[in-house]
């Protein structure tokens, strides 16, 4: 006949079960946190979400403008088509840097022996802040512009350029000012930099233009 379990055995059993339960919960909850946070941290996620909100607003605005343009063209008028094409040509010439432009923006000045990589980073910073037209030391630049180093310094699209550097950017003045402020603060911490500053302008003019190369290799 089997003996009845003692009180001690019951207590040991209960405590063991409790121990196992708590240990599993603990390990699983820690594992869950570690697994979920192993990709991107929440602060970065919040920044990505903020950027995507702004990007989606811009895309929605652009889609709205294109939808209005399609509706206008559906009327079938030749005059309307010519007007639409003229407007698009004017806008694309601005985008591609083919015509002088004006508008609100910032002027950033830096006295430092900057490298081509520094200059590319500065231009990219301003583009990411919504710059629609850029010029560096009176030379208009777009994303495909080539900034390179030579034995004496920097070349931009094959033209030798020397510091001090003056960067003109036309675009959303609030975002550009914020980017220029951050950029010049960071530059002032760089021991190579003698001075760095910026000013906001309500109507900046960029007269220089890009010389466009004809495409030789690519076709539609």
């Amino acid at each position: 006949m089997p003996s009845r379990p003692s009180l001690n055995a019951v207590v040991v059993g209960l405590l063991s079960a409790l121990l196992a339960f708590v240990a599993v919960v603990q390990v699983r909850s820690q594992f869950e946190v570690e697994r979920s946070l192993s990709g991107v941290d929440p602060t970065t996620l919040a920044f990505l979400i903020d950027d995507l909100h702004r990007a989606n607003d811009t895309l929605a605005r652009d889609a709205g403008a294109l939808a209005a343009r399609r509706a206008a063209l559906q009327g079938g008028s030749n005059q309307e088509a010519a007007a639409q094409l003229n407007a698009e040509a004017a806008q694309l010439r601005v985008v591609e840097g083919l015509v002088p432009v004006h508008g609100p923006g910032v002027v950033v000045t830096v006295d430092a022996p900057l490298t081509p990589l520094d200059l590319q980073d500065a231009l990219d910073n301003l583009r990411a802040a919504g710059a629609e037209a850029l010029a560096l030391n009176d030379q208009r630049l777009v994303t495909s512009s080539v900034i390179n180093g030579d034995s004496e310094g920097v070349t931009m699209d094959g033209v030798s350029v020397r510091g001090p550097w003056t960067l003109w950017a036309i675009g959303d003045p609030t975002r550009l000012s914020s980017a220029a402020d951050q950029m010049t603060r960071a530059l002032r911490d760089d021991p190579r930099v003698h001075s760095a500053g910026y000013r906001a302008e309500s109507d900046l003019v960029i007269r220089s233009t890009v010389v466009q190369r004809p495409f030789v290799y690519g076709s539609a």
Partner: protein, 240 residues
Amino acid sequence: MSRRQLFSLSLLALVALATGFVLADQVRTQLLTPSNQVARYQALVRSLQELEATNADSRRQIAELRAAIDALESTAAAQSGTTQALRNQVADLRTHAGLVAMHGPGVEIVLRNGVAGPGPGGQAGYLVNFQDIQDVVNLLFQGGAEGVAVNGHRISPLSSFSGPAGTVVIDQGNPLNAPFQVVAVGNRNQMEHLMGDASKLGGLRNRQRALGLALSFQGSPDLTLAPYDSALETRFAQPA
């Protein structure tokens, strides 16, 4: 007290002690806080995923609208020589802006993350970042690229690169993660030469050696680039 009772009491004390330690640790690490962290994190991830889906829909819509506009303009141009001449001008401008699909000889570059290493450099240095992609794209333009795309996202004259470590955001697109595929159409020989030049992309090559980042490229006689599918609006810059 018998040996058996002594053994039972010792076992009981041992289990009670272990339970006490685990409970204390549980309280110390605040079980509820990690749970909330996970919930908050998951809510953020869901928001991001919803925004990414909206983003992809908007870009698809923009591509469809541009195609529809092109077809309508084509019909109008067939009826008027002046409109046709204008359309040809705009077609050339669109090609240079990246708004038209392009094919031709070029190179295809693949970048992959490395392995996390010790020290502050290895914490994020093993991840391909937006500056690496920016450097590769700049080098390709230097080598005579006429069109470039990153993970299918065409580069425009106003394109910018940003994003936290390991994530690349181009213009109004969704965040991109490794592996990155950069495709360029243009002067294939010159681009291949620059990509093979050990003196170029110094930072990337150093991390390739130290942290195992992978950088490979291959030339091709015919590569295809999709048209730019994001906004190319200029709200502030006006012709002077």
